[in-house]
């Protein structure tokens, strides 16, 4: 947060001034927000250091807190970064949709997300075949295309297909 506040303050300083500026000006409040955020960040850091010092002063409670913390967050810690994969699938969609168009890109997004979320549990009894996932994804893309383009009349990216056909 301190880094965000510093960067924001510096960028706020670069906002151009003009003869039309009022008493506060376009820089005024953004820089004030940055100062408040920095103050809150320092407060958060101070409180964290204080509670760590307290915990160090009382080894038994520290041990208890560490233990309970580990119990609570251990399973989550293993999977908490999986969101990056889902975000990358979204970014990949943004990268390919101008070329591949909505239908193909959306089918890939659905298939990719379903495959990613299904995990790699080999031989899991409920796990569908890749062809099954692709079929569901293709059907889903067609349904969404019908909903947006045909029913609601909202155009979606057509990609290179509009130049070919």
């Amino acid at each position: 947060m301190l880094a965000i506040a510093s960067a924001y303050y510096l960028l706020g300083t670069n906002i151009p001034q003009s003869a039309l500026d009022d008493a506060v000006g376009p820089r005024g409040l953004p820089r004030a927000y940055a100062v408040v955020l920095a103050a809150l960040a320092i407060l958060t850091i101070a409180r964290a250091l204080l509670s760590r010092a307290r915990a160090a002063a009382s080894p038994s409670s520290k041990h208890d807190e560490d233990k309970s913390g580990a119990d609570l967050y251990a399973p989550r810690k293993r999977t908490r970064w999986r969101f990056i994969g889902l975000a990358l699938i979204g970014i990949a969609y943004l990268a390919v949709v101008p070329w591949l168009g909505y239908l193909v890109s959306m089918a890939l997004l659905i298939a990719g997300t379903a495959w990613y979320q299904g995990g790699s549990i080999a031989g899991a009894p409920d796990k569908p075949r890749p062809s099954g996932i692709l079929l569901v994804a293709a059907s889903g893309a067609v349904v969404l295309w019908l909903l947006f383009v045909a029913l609601l009349g909202i155009p979606q990216p057509s990609g290179v297909w509009s130049q070919i056909f």
Partner: protein, 496 residues
Amino acid sequence: MVADLLAIVAAAFGGVAWGILGGALPGISPSITMALLLPFTYGLDSTVAIVMLASTYVGAEYGGSIPAILIRTPGTNAAAATVIDGYAMKQQGRAGEALGISLYSGFIGGLFGLVVLVLLTERLSTLALAFTPPAYFALGILGLSVIAALSGESLVKGFTAGVLGLMVASIGTDPVTGTNRFTFDQPELLSGIPPILVMVGVYAIAELFAQSADIGWSSSPPERARITMPGPTMWRRIALPQAIGSVIGTIEGVVPGGGGTVSSFLAYNEARRWSRHREEFGHGSPEGIAAPEAANNTVACTALIPMLSLGIPSSNSAAVLLGGFLVHGLIPGPMLFVQHGEVVRGLYVGLLIANIAMLIVGYLIMSPCIWVVSRPRPYLTAFIYALVISGVYSIEGSLFHVGVALAFGVVGYAMRMWNLPVLPIVLGVVLGFMVESNYRRALVLSGGDHRIFLQDRISVVLLGVATVFVIGSLIRHAKERRGRRDDRGVARQQHT
């Protein structure tokens, strides 16, 4: 006229159906269900769009009780209280009866909330014509002071999230001088970051990112249930808990930070206290379903009172509805009734239809709803992700906007990881422009003299209320911290 009414009826039915479906999906809260729908409303008539979003809220509050009763998993936080007796009734083979009580109580609560909404909102809005820039600034500050009540365990974290929202709101063209700020030569950023992208990101996409932690193809086994509506004897029995739920829902809906979850548990507790069959609570009491369901459906209407009359959302769902207003160029608050009274009246009619629709759709949608809820999670996640991305693109046909929404999804997820509350950032984004533009306009009028904020009566009252609110929250937080410290001290003594 007839076509308008038909469109409102269709929007109410469609919104309720979507709300029930979304509410029935565990993890998808009413605000997320609304945020998913938000991009679709962009091309609709403003009244129809607002009715659809508000109806989604109504439907989602009921939808949350379906998995709560059938699979012991509340679809929404507000349905957590319904699990206790709802699932117990299901185990006794009375699932249909429990669903019927939930549906009927939600209907009663919704109607009660609507009456309160109509009676109170219009009166609050009569202040409209007296508002000046200092008063609008003070109103914005009052809205931001809500953060103090919504900060959860840490006020510092709440304010941090609020300031981040204000920072986002200052991106784009300066409201007074027209200077570009934080636009990095990107033309898409000149008009700022639309609040809708922030909402879809921090609510809907962040929720999908959070669910990415749950992997595997397992799905909930489909449950069969047929709704049985309560008869006259049951009506009489659940009348008192419904009344308790409706009154508590009214109070909690208006109070910032209250919302459906708090009201449901309070209503459950009070219904138990006033019941003649107290021993049945926890073992399948119909009253234990009626009170919380009436309460959370009352909140779906009364939470709109501060949002419509003052432009201050008191809950996540009200904030998303506020986003719906902004998407259509409508500014909720004092002038809404003067400039767009027809939208507000259309919303009242729509909410009435939505509550009636809930009875019909709730009955009809049960089987498809159970089918959808029992699909494998990877497919559900994939389709919701596809729907969100398609919806965001539909707003202005901009892939840049999709990228911004994804970025705010990451921000929302990071906030969850660091236990930062989400609503303050939304409040900051929504109210930031109003606060800054009116603060600076007021100072232009006064020649830079800050005393102008103390010379306007409405401004003084609103700033006073905001101050009381923040100080009250500070005292409450200090007491809670002391209480937690004392508890830890006692636990430590027992340990040694």
